[in-house]
Symmetry: C2
Subunit: 404 residues, 2 copies
């Protein structure tokens, strides 16, 4: 297999604060090797290959590329397209036309599945291609990696928001005693769990955390909330988006609030409003809900510098891994900042790593010190965003589309 | 009227990022005058007077007091208690017992009503008291003042969140094209309007803003959203919490989502979920909702330094105004940073200042340049919060309760 050829990079799934840092890492590393020719980006992941929306990343200025490490969103555009076997001919026609020999796909579980399918198809077709997955997800649910780029920044933002809103909430206990903050994270509780970092004293928020990994009795939930409320005069509760009852059914399913996305995953949004109704009916006290939603993935203004550094590292090491001759692997992060390894894509694709049960208390309503010790290093350091006129200033790719 | 006597300070209504900066300003200024004796704080506003929960603020360290200017929440506790004439005897018994001659009440419209009632009662009872209102509200809806302390920080956070979430949203147009962000602000559109500062190019978020000041046809809303979606491939919409139809009814009233608080104001929470359903039914595309709720009032980690400076200034000038012999007034802010005036409490109490119609476009779906020019100076400067272990570190009063 020759080292000579062109590079194609895609971003897939929902963005994180640092998905562009991985993009920067790949581009900056790829530029170091003179056997690498063009460096292309596909717009909206694999959709851009199918639609022939491909840009030349060598046309972007160094200033823009460095600015990517301080810019939220997915500069190339993300996607949630589930690649089909019937798409493979069209995809490899494009790869062949552009002499793509390196394909870097930055994404989460579903995107690793796409990358794995492309790697398998290349082998079957006898097409020389090195496919490297680059991890990304605020959910922190990819297996085989110590942690996922994107999680540290989201954890920092969630913990900061819970600390601030918790102080606010406690100062309003006599009139608005209860607040529920709902995080993202699908079927894993890494993000709700990270809110525990906000708490440095027993009476501080969060008081109760609910995890998608556990099964809860909904009446026990109201009793738990009432107990905190009676003891402290109020309560701050953090909930994951996919909470289930003893039968494994989504708590809020009866409200018709669960639909499914293109991958068949439930789209979860309504659990906090459901719980608000429940508490207000049961305790007869005003309950607020906070749903930060995509702000958790986009809050660059208070992102973790450690997270940015890790995201650049997995980008750079994806290129190095490909040059070493590997394919069909995802770069992984080790415990120490910037240290990487790799795992087979087919062992990563579609697997969700949940919070270990031993990192939750016996009731499943808070995390242990081990959990906190795991997350703490990942939220360290503040990214210095550029401020213009009081607001963060972000970059955009100029996007030189190629004709072919 | 003698200048000699003790000071009582209360915080009322919901907190803002800078309500503690005004508390600091009052305390620090009051300490300069040797005819001022004790400086007390009442816990949870006027409720603390009725419950005899009063602390000695001279026992707090200088470090804690300075830390208040970088700490969210209401350090003394806020309240939403509507004072009754029947409460006055109990209130003035406490004032008399503690020789309170200066009463500073930091709050919004409802709190100014409380302060006004106390001032009137003092006059009627022949009790020597100087009552000064100190403005505070993220809603920016107090009349007679150029702007309100608290608004600048909330505006900065909302505009930052819309810029970041807007970039994120645009990178997901092919799968999750529409996002609705709901602000607080009750019946005024200052905060949704402030999101316009996020936009520097025509295709950037926000694309549509909906104001409580206007009446909208709900079918026109869906057409407006569809037009943006067809043109750009997605849309970012910012909505106030109290949106009304042509008949002046809340859009989401039919969903039973409107309750009322102790002041009879509707508690507004559900409009974004209502609009999400509407768009998903009409356009058949995935729509996300963001409800930052009290994070808008609490996001000290990215607060406006201009706002902090103004909040300290109204605190200091409240003391100076009282010493000049005035009572029954609220300190106001002028256009220039830190410059203040005053207005009669009875002209401020219970009056909501709405966004002028001429500062909205003819459709009522965006603001004019005049609006942007008004808000821009108020969001300038970033507060330097103290960071410990990756998270902002905030202070707490030690709260030495007094026996009487």
């Amino acid at each position: 297999m020759s080292l000579k050829g062109n590079v194609l990079i895609g971003q897939s799934g929902g963005p994180t604060c640092v998905i562009n840092s991985s993009l920067y890492g790949i581009i900056d590393e790829a530029k170091k090797y003179d056997f690498i020719g063009d460096i292309y980006g596909t717009i909206h992941g694999i959709e851009g290959v199918l639609n022939k929306k491909i840009i030349n990343l060598r046309s972007e200025t160094d200033e823009t590329l460095r600015g990517l490490t301080r810019t939220p969103g997915a500069a190339l555009g993300g996607c949630r397209y589930k690649v089909q076997q019937s798409d493979m001919d069209a995809i490899f026609e494009v790869f062949d036309a552009l002499d793509i020999r390196y394909f870097f796909y930055i994404g989460g579980n579903d995107s690793m599945d796409t990358a794995d399918k492309l790697n398998t198809a290349a082998l079957r077709l006898g097409y020389d291609l090195r496919v490297i997955g680059v991890p990304k997800t605020v959910d922190n649910d990819l297996p085989e990696t110590h942690h996922c780029p994107g999680f540290g920044s989201a954890a920092k933002y969630v913990a900061t928001s819970v600390r601030e809103a918790g102080i606010h909430n406690a100062s309003m206990y006599t009139s608005e005693p209860i607040t529920i903050l709902q995080t993202v994270g699908r079927n894993t509780g890494w993000l709700p769990g990270a809110s525990a970092l906000a708490k440095s004293r027993e009476d501080e928020a969060p008081h109760l955390i609910y995890f998608p990994e556990k099964r809860y009795n909904i009446y026990q939930f109201t009793i738990d909330v009432e107990n905190v409320y009676r003891r402290l005069g109020g309560a701050f509760i953090v909930v994951g988006e996919g909470l289930k009852d003893e039968n494994g059914e989504y708590w809020h399913a009866e409200h018709g609030l669960v639909a499914t996305d293109a991958f068949g995953h439930p789209t979860l949004g309504g659990v906090s409003e459901f719980l608000k109704d429940l508490i207000e009916k049961h305790l007869k006290v005003k309950t607020r809900t906070i749903k930060l939603d995509i702000c958790q993935q986009a809050a660059m203004h208070f992102a973790s510098q450690r997270d940015v550094n890790d995201a650049i590292a997995v980008g750079r090491d994806a290129v190095k891994t490909a040059i070493l001759g590997l394919s069909g692997v995802m770069v992984t992060l080790l415990e120490e900042e910037g240290e990487t390894g790799w795992a087979e894509l087919d062992e990563v694709a579609n697997v969700e790593r949940q919070v270990p049960t031993e990192w939750l208390n016996s009731e499943g309503t808070f995390v242990t010190d081990e959990f906190v010790d795991y997350v703490r290093p990942l939220i360290r350091g503040e990214v210095k965003v550029q401020i213009e006129d009081g607001l963060p200033s972000y970059v955009r790719l100029k996007k030189s589309f190629i004709e072919f």
